[in-house]
């Protein structure tokens, strides 16, 4: 049996229904565990004081925000090439989750920026690129909302997602050209010199894992809802045509 079998709504419902409780439970445990570890069992930073703890929300949210868009790109491609409905609906379901992660990233960043840089917002490249990503999410969701025929909406949003990705990448480099910023470099790189101390890194990795599990649970849950809504719509339409 090939993996594409799961693109059939019924198969997907069966599988996702089985794993969803486990994923949700794991998400709750890891996320809460990671955050508590980070908030209460790590020392304050010598320069930043206790504000550094925002990192346990900020970095995972920021990482997930970009990853969700990437996942939407992949599922959109699957829809365009193989026309699996579940794939299109998964992209639709993921978009609001990604947008909320982006918002969390922006918001925690702003809250962090106030003590660090003395202002809520700076036109720093990374922040700006993030704001643009938020706009892409907005446009993508708005297009889904506006087009009424579900298949046409899936096609159009997929094309938008492809084109948008290319432009998001170009924008990222354009912004670097436009402003060299203040924002932190990569703190979780492989390069040991630049890495944050292990005391911070372990809980950080944990909460990143927690955010990822949370995302997985939410997307499964929302995709299931979307599938049910589509089925409901199909049934209602069938009733009406009868």
């Amino acid at each position: 049996m090939s993996i594409w079998e799961y693109a059939n709504p019924r198969k997907f419902m069966a599988l996702s229904g089985a794993v969803l409780p486990w994923v949700s439970a794991a998400a709750a445990i890891v996320l809460v565990g990671g955050l508590i570890w980070g908030f209460f069992f790590t020392p304050d930073d010598f320069r930043q004081g206790s504000t550094v703890k925002i990192i346990y929300l900020h970095v995972p949210a920021a990482i997930m925000a970009t990853s969700v868009w990437f996942m939407m790109l992949v599922t959109s491609l699957i829809w365009l090439i193989r026309r699996h409905h579940v794939s299109a609906l998964a992209a639709k379901a993921a978009a609001p989750v990604g947008m909320v992660f982006t918002l969390i990233g922006l918001f925690t960043g702003a809250v962090w920026g106030q003590p660090m840089w003395g202002s809520w917002w700076e036109w720093d490249p990374r922040l700006t690129a993030f704001l643009i990503l938020f706009l892409f999410y907005l446009g993508y969701i708005a297009l889904w909302e506006a087009v009424e025929n579900p298949d046409a909406a899936a096609d159009l949003t997929s094309v938008l997602c492809l084109v948008g990705t290319v432009f998001a990448v170009i924008s990222r480099y354009a912004i670097l050209f436009w402003n060299q910023g203040l924002h932190q470099g990569a703190s979780l790189s492989m390069d040991a010199e630049e890495n944050v101390a292990d005391v911070f890194a372990y809980p950080l990795w944990t909460s990143i894992g927690g955010f990822f599990l949370l995302f997985l649970a939410l997307v499964l849950y929302r995709t299931r809802t979307e599938i049910r809504a589509r089925r409901l719509q199909a049934l209602v339409q069938r009733e009406r045509m009868a």
């Binding site: 702003a110 202002s119 809520w120 917002w121 700076e122 036109w123 720093d124 700006t128 704001l131 643009i132 706009l135 907005l138 446009g139 708005a142 909302e145 506006a146 087009v147 009424e148 436009w178 402003n179």
Partner: protein, 218 residues
């Protein structure tokens, strides 16, 4: 009347109805400005009141065509004109619906965008006050512009052209109030003038809009 208001609101909130798009446009224009102008916070803070007001104004402007154009195209306006409502009331109700679906959300979003542009904290109350007072005038004037251009296929741009000069007083007083507020000066005078402009517009525009509609329906 109430039926018309409810219908217009419902249409706006329906999928494809355009609610929220004005907001998004406001957001995007404000975000784009720094790309054009450069990222220096000091410059941005200085021009923030103007940018915010112009952004709100453009967002209003771009959603004006939904006041009459769609009703014209599908023939509803012909029917409304023969209905037992005075055309003035139709124009007023439609301007009100436009304000509720566009102006009001803009007011609510403006503080967030003000943060992005580093508007000084003293400016915030004035920003909200001036937009609350000014956006009804934008909708009312806009309904007149929309009525003037309703029969034209590509009326959108022509309407912008007619309406923008009419927006000048509102823009001047509104932006001035915020600018003074942000500088810690007294902003009550421009605000009072703004209120005066708005009141006069609200009183006069439905009649002008109805007259324009009558001509276009011939």
């Amino acid at each position: 009347m109430k039926g018309l208001l409810l219908r217009d609101l419902r249409l706006a909130f329906r999928a494809g109805g355009g609610f929220g798009l004005g907001l998004a446009f406001f957001l995007i224009v404000t975000v784009l400005m720094p790309f054009g102008i450069g990222p220096e916070t000091a410059t941005l803070a200085r021009i923030a009141p103007g940018i915010l007001w112009i952004g709100a104004l453009l967002a209003c402007l771009l959603s004006l065509d939904r006041i009459f154009a769609l009703d014209w195209e599908d023939g509803s306006l012909d029917l409304l004109a023969t209905a037992p409502l005075p055309l003035e009331a139709v124009a007023a109700v439609k301007a009100l619906a436009h304000w509720i679906t566009t102006g009001l959300p803009l007011v609510a979003l403006s503080p967030v965008l003000a943060v992005l542009l580093n508007l000084p904290a003293e400016g915030f109350p004035w920003l909200i006050a001036s937009l609350t007072l000014g956006t009804p005038a934008l909708s009312a004037i806009g309904s007149f512009g929309a009525a003037l251009t309703v029969g034209l296929r590509r009326g959108g741009l022509l309407m912008s052209l007619l309406v923008l000069p009419l927006y000048v007083p509102t823009l001047i007083f509104g932006a001035e109030a915020v600018r003074r507020g942000a500088d810690g000066l007294d902003a009550a005078t421009p605000l009072a003038l703004l209120a005066g402009v708005t009141l006069a517009t609200l009183a006069a525009m439905p009649f002008a809009a109805a007259a324009a509609l009558r001509v276009n329906l011939r």
